[in-house]
Structure formats: C-alpha cells, structure tokens
C-alpha cells in the first residue's frame, strides 16, 4: 500500500513540476513578447525626437546655405574689385598721354627765348632765339610753331626759318613772319629742322620755351 502511495506521490510531483514549468514558460514568453510588442517608432517619445531631428536638419540646411551665400558674396566682391582696378589702370594709362612728355633726344637747335612781336603794315614779325647744339655751322634751320588762345584752341600754325647760317655752339635769332596777329596768343614751338639730311628733324617736348603775347 505504501508503494502505491509513493507511486502516486511521485506521479503527482512530476505532473506538478510539468505544470509549473508550463506556467513559468508562459510567463517568460509573455514577458518577452510583451516587451517586443512595443512599437518604438509609434511611441510619443520617438515622435517628439523625430520632429526634433527634422527641425535640426532644416537648421543645418539653412546654416549651409548661409555659408554658400557668403562665399558667393566673397567671390562676387573679389571679381568686382578686380574689374574696378583694371578700369582704374586703363584710365591711368590714358592719362599718361597728357602728362609731361620729353622731346626727341639730342635736338640740333634748342629754343632759348621768344621775343616781343614787331608789327608793321599788317605784317607781324616774331623773333625766336635758338642755340646751335652742334659744333658745326648750320646753313639752314627752321622752327615750326602753333599759336593757341587761352582755351587751348589752335588759331594759327606757322614757322620761323633762316638761311643766314648759325655758327656751331652759337645763339642765333631769326623770324616768324606772317599776316596773322598773335596778340593774346601763346606761341608753342612744336618741331625743328635743319635741312633734309638724316637726323635733321625732331619734336620738342612739353618743357619747351613758350611765350604768351
């Protein structure tokens, strides 16, 4: 009889153990599946963060745009400065034309002075004194000049010449002679010539001697 009781007790214990395991297993499984059933992406916290990410990305894009805009500005301003400087150089080059300019080198005759006008019978004589820079006698020499009013308009062009000869290294005076009245005008020598030989012609520079009558 005890054997039977023991047998029954053993059977009951085994059944109880199996039931317990089944229940525990159900519990463990329930806990895991419960946890995994949470939809993270649908959760309120995740949604909040998702919105935050969108806002942050917008701010990032704008900050990048800011940088691009400033770089564009830098490039455009740089280009503009380059253009401005080149145009400035252009004007400076142009203006050089109107600054002082030297005459041709080694003129054979240099204008030393221009005398007062000698007027008679509707003719006007203008005495011009030149220095012969060569050591040889010049048999012919001529200075071409222009007469300008106060505004710089040319009112007459003429020349003074001589066939009387000019000794080497000497000063010689000769006449511009014509019917134009130079009163009030400024006489500016432009060029000289001593004949048709080579190097016998040259231009005077802006530093040439002038005279206002």
């Amino acid at each position: 009889m005890n054997d039977l009781m023991n047998d029954r007790r053993a059977k009951t214990a085994i059944v109880a153990a199996i039931c317990l395991i089944a229940v525990i297993a159900a519990g463990i499984m329930g806990w895991n599946m419960g946890g995994r059933s949470i939809d993270v992406r649908a959760s309120a916290e995740y949604q909040v963060r998702t919105k935050e990410l969108r806002r942050a990305e917008t701010a990032l894009t704008e900050s990048q745009q800011d940088i691009d805009n400033r770089n564009t500005q830098l490039n455009e301003t740089d280009d503009a400065i380059g253009k401005t400087e080149r145009e400035m150089e252009r004007y400076q080059d142009f203006a050089k034309e109107f600054g002082p300019s030297a005459g041709d080198a080694n003129p054979q005759i240099t204008v030393k002075s221009i005398g007062a006008v000698d007027a008679a019978y509707g003719y006007y004589k203008i005495p011009i004194t030149v220095h012969n820079n060569t050591s040889a006698t010049l048999t012919y020499y001529e200075v071409r000049y222009q007469l300008t009013d106060d505004a710089g308009n040319i009112t007459n062009t003429h020349f003074a010449n001589s066939v009387n000869g000019c000794a080497g290294n000497a000063d010689c005076t000769f006449m511009g002679y014509g019917r134009f009245n130079p009163a009030g005008m400024t006489l500016t020598p432009i060029s000289w010539t001593t004949g048709s030989a080579e190097n016998s012609y040259g231009h005077y520079g802006t530093d040439v001697v002038t005279r206002k009558f």
């Binding site: 089944a22 806990w31 946890g35 400033r70 830098l74």
Partner: protein, 226 residues
C-alpha cells in the same frame, strides 16, 4: 478496482490539463502586460540612434555657424577694399576727364566746325583759292598732324583739280579743342563759283608713329568758292 482503505485521491487528468492551460494563459497575459509596460521605448536601439543623429546634426550646424561668422568678417573687409578701389577709380577717371571731357569723343576723330573757301590774296602772292577749316579734335587723344584732302569741282560736278591738301603738319592739338587748318592753294586750281569738296583726311596722334586715313561723313559738304 478501487483498493479498500485507500481514498480515491486521484484527480481527473483532463481537469489538470485544463487548469494548467488556464493558469498558463493567465500567466502569459499578465506577464505580457507587465513586460509591455516595463519596456521603455527610450532604451531601444532605434531611439538611441535617433538621439545620436540629432546630436550630430546640431554639431555640424554649430560648426557652420562659426564658419559663417568668419566669412562675414571676410566679406566686410573685402567690401571696405572695394570702396577704396572704387574711390581710386573715380579719381583716375576724373584726372583723365580733365583732358578728355565726357562726350568729347565721337566716331569721327575730327569734326568740321566750319569751312570757308575764299578767293583772295591773303598771302600777298596774288589771287588764289584759300580754304580755311575749323576742326575740333574729337578723337580723345592728342593730335600731332592733320592733312585734309579735297577736290575742286564745277557746279555741274566735273572735277577742276584733284588731291588738294590743306594741312597742319606739326601741331599739338588737345582733345576737345579746335584748330584752324588753312592753306593758300598755289596753282590755278579753281575760281569763284567752283566748289571745294572735302573727301578724306589723314590724322596722327601723339602715341602713334603712323597716321590714319579717314573718310569724311555725309555731314561734311562742299563749299562754294567766294
């Protein structure tokens, strides 16, 4: 066959199974709910990745803002430089325009202001045709030589004499200024009633070694010799 003296304590196996199942299901349901409520979304890897992304984006934005500030300073400096350059350009332009006023440069380097052709004895050598031009320098440069070429024609258009030069060979004519270019034509090139017709001209500027040949425009017409 039931044993005497022993109570029948055996439980029905069906009841055991059903009871276990019920308890297990209740356990499952309870554990499921408990597991669900114990799980925080904020501990999940997806959430943690999201938080990390946000931090990264914010970091990059901050770096951009710092760089933008540096660039703003550079832009300001460059704009100051531009203002200085603009000022220097204006000065150079004004210095140039003292010599070449705006509007004084035209398509024609020489503009004929007037032409008079007299038949007179102005140089004392006898009656000759005496054309007298007043031309304005509209080239924008200093002109050093002007040679005007014309012909003399009868009223019917037939040519009396060709290639008549009226020149000023050595001058320094500033931009915008006028010059009187006249000549007494020495041979018997025509008489009163004929017309002096300007055709073209050569002019040379200070920076060139050669002269240019330019045709007069249609606005420059023949003048009767009087």
């Amino acid at each position: 066959m039931p044993i005497e003296g022993v109570k029948n304590t055996q439980v029905n196996p069906v009841i055991v199974v059903v009871a276990t199942a019920v308890v297990a299901m209740m356990m499952f349901a309870g554990a499921y709910a408990a597991g669900r409520s114990a799980t925080k979304p904020t501990d999940s890897p997806e959430y943690r990745a999201l938080v990390s992304d946000i931090a990264d984006v914010k970091k990059r934005t901050a770096a951009n803002k710092a760089r933008a500030k540096e660039l703003t300073d550079e832009v300001e400096q460059l704009e100051e430089k531009q203002q200085a350059a603009d000022k220097r350009l204006e000065e150079a332009k004004q210095a140039y325009q003292r010599y070449v006023p705006a509007g004084s440069v035209k398509d024609q380097p020489l503009t004929v202001e007037s032409l008079d052709v007299a038949f007179d004895n102005s140089d004392g050598t006898g009656m000759h045709v005496h054309p007298r031009f007043v031309v304005r320098n509209t080239s924008g440069h200093i002109i050093t030589k002007i040679e005007i070429v014309g012909e003399i024609v009868r009223p019917d258009g037939s040519v009396v004499s060709d290639d008549q030069f009226v020149s000023a060979d050595d001058i320094r004519l500033m931009p915008g200024r006028t010059a009187v270019i006249e000549k007494v034509l020495f041979s018997k090139v025509g008489g009163r009633g004929d017309l002096f017709k300007p055709k073209h001209y050569y002019y040379q500027i200070a920076s060139d070694s050669q002269s240019k040949d330019v045709q007069f425009g249609g606005d420059v017409t023949a003048k009767v010799i009087s």
